[in-house]
Symmetry: C2
Subunit: 100 residues, 2 copies
């Protein structure tokens, strides 16, 4: 079943175009993850917070990725990581034009 994964955590930049430059290689790696349908990259420079919203084809791949990504972020020194996994209500989401 399609699984939505939320990640967000304290982040000190880089932001915007410099974030793109620093993390394009990582994005290419993540694009190749098993079961990943898409990831939206999020950033909030004012609140010093960043993260991602992921759609996975199934719960098993989402859980595997969540553990792997949390360990990677911790290896970068990130603490205070919030990671949550949800099912998607496809019928309600269709009413609100969600791209599923």
């Amino acid at each position: 079943m399609t699984t939505l994964l939320q990640f967000d955590f304290p982040f000190d930049g880089p932001w915007g175009a410099r974030m793109t430059e620093a993390l394009s290689g990582l994005a290419e790696d993540i694009a190749a993850e098993n079961g990943l349908i898409w990831k939206i990259w999020t950033e909030n420079e004012v609140e010093h917070r960043a993260g991602g919203i992921y759609l996975f084809a199934d719960e098993t791949n989402a859980a595997r990725y969540a553990a792997r990504h949390k360990a990677r972020l911790e290896s970068f020194g990130v603490t205070g990581i919030v990671s949550r996994s949800f099912s998607v209500n496809a019928e309600l989401s269709a009413i609100t034009r969600a791209p599923l």
Copy 2:
């Protein structure tokens, strides 16, 4: 600028098809919100948690909706609401096939 809004909160159901039935009218109202591009409806019956991921065309409409939705949830008796707003990094998101 496109703004991503995250909401999640403790929730006691209904879940799945019964959630769809209970909240379809609300979904139709939300679909008509100014500036809303889409909303994905999320639910986690095991953790008793639900929420939504929204994409808005601009920060002003996202902030207006966030205040309105928080007040609505509180009027339903919901507490412990987590609401976060982010910019989207469009270039990194394009690498990971995000539907923006």
